[in-house]
Symmetry: C2
Subunit: 256 residues, 2 copies
DNA sequence: CCTTGACCCTCACGCGACGTGAGGCCTGAT
DNA sequence: ATCAGGCCTCACGTCGCGTGAGGGTCAAGG
């Protein structure tokens, strides 16, 4: 039973610096339970177990004094700590999932040509608005709620590579509209409608099943809603209106 | 379009303090793009978008100067940042899962009466031992690899409540052995064997299907392996041997 | 036996990312 | 006119270590 470890050894297997262990020793958070004749710190199993507890709590963001209070609490044994840490970790995992979801939402919005409001962008950080009015706002904003939910469901499983590919497609779509407009191609012409149709299919492939009627109403909002307009017009002034016209013409041609 | 926000408002929706925004302004990480006549900071959409990027990177553990370098990089646009952040978040999620798995392993080991070695306890923190010899060691240590894997598989889905219940059962089992020993109950008596059988069924219910032969070899290791012995004997000296005897008697009585 | 290189020790100052007042101006509602 | 509540700028304090400086210790090899 090799019970004894030097600070360097402990630091190595714990993934911290020797200085950190010195510090913990100084403040009494994790003391080396012994010293050699030469004054070298000697860590034993119990010390390392304590270190493990401390590091786990640290990873969860606790301050060192809080950690000391936690693990010195005589009402909680080692297993109790493991259970609590497990719970906190699972919670942290949930927060991370929430952040990923928020990023997905932002990516999705951008790909569809929409700017999120500040509240929406920062949603995941502060702001636990009780959720009532908040949800209402969101619903009113996104209009087609079913479509949006479907979209959320699908994008949840996209990987980084998927998103990158999606971005490329979205960008090239916007560029297609922009260059058509610059070249004087009529929005209602065959070419314009082809671009619109391509856009509709792009949406259907990546987000939700977008029929011509839905596409038309989305197109309308490109000029009606400033948050869309800003995005398109920052690429090329007047582009939002141009895209809307192409979409409307295409929808009409398809009987919607 | 309410484009303008005061520091207090931004702080509120972002979940940070005003002081933090002042700090970011001072060091130039996130500047308020304007001031009122009275000198009040005025934040616009672009500032808040930048803040969102910064906070996400901060949540991932980057230093403020690194963050500045990242988001000032002209080769990466907003979507690029979102993609990178998504990737990093997913990675962090993986680390958290790993820590939960490590805790489960520790809980499992404790419930079975085993002390983990320091290396095992701290496994998740530093120590990326390439995994070769490491895995070998682990296999040699746990013996019944199939059983252990099964056990890992099952415990992965346990909740905190499950673990708490498991702990209670495990504790009461050990206490049962301890009090029987104190009361002079023979390890090979009917009562002793009943406790052993109960222990076997406890293992089978929570960890892996433990037949009498496996149970016997586990019992043997309670005295042969110091890491088991320590746990039992810390409850009551000689308990490890007592438990082993009861288990062996019970296994023999069941034809193993 | 002596040297060399890898560890170990104790000061002690420095730093990043804010926290925490102190002292004073701005502004909207009563 | 006043008064609460929010904003401003210093400026020092704190926490969790990083980073030398200066100096012993220990196992291995010449």
């Amino acid at each position: 039973m090799a019970e004894d470890y030097t600070v360097g050894r402990v630091a190595e297997i714990a993934g911290v610096t020797v200085r950190t262990l010195h510090h913990y020793d100084e403040i009494g958070l994790v003391r080396a339970s012994g010293r050699t004749a030469a004054g070298y710190r000697v860590y034993e199993l119990a010390d390392i177990e304590r270190l493990q507890q401390a590091l786990t709590y640290r990873a969860l963001g606790f301050g060192l004094d809080e950690i000391a209070a936690l693990i010195d609490n005589p009402d909680v044994d080692a297993v109790g700590h493991l259970l609590r840490q497990r719970e906190l970790l699972v919670e942290r995992g949930g927060q991370i999932s929430a952040m990923v979801a928020a990023i997905d939402k932002a990516l999705e919005a951008r790909a569809m040509g929409m700017q999120l409001t500040p509240e929406e962008q920062l949603e995941v950080f502060g702001t636990d608005k009780v959720g009532g009015e908040w949800a209402e706002e969101a619903e009113a904003r996104w209009g087609e709620t079913d479509a949006f939910r479907e979209s959320q469901r699908r994008t949840a499983s996209y990987t980084k590579a998927d998103w990158a590919r999606l971005k490329e497609e979205a960008d090239s779509g916007v560029q297609g509209f922009a260059s058509a407009m610059r070249d004087g191609v009529g929005a209602g012409s065959e070419a314009g409608m082809a671009l619109a149709e391509q856009h509709r299919q792009f949406l259907s492939r990546w987000f939700y099943d977008c029929d011509h009627a839905m596409h038309r109403s989305l197109g309308e909002s490109y000029v009606a809603d400033g948050r869309f307009t800003a995005t398109f017009d920052s690429v090329e002034p007047g582009l939002a209106a141009y895209v809307r016209d192409a979409i409307v013409a295409n929808a009409t041609a398809h009987g919607a």
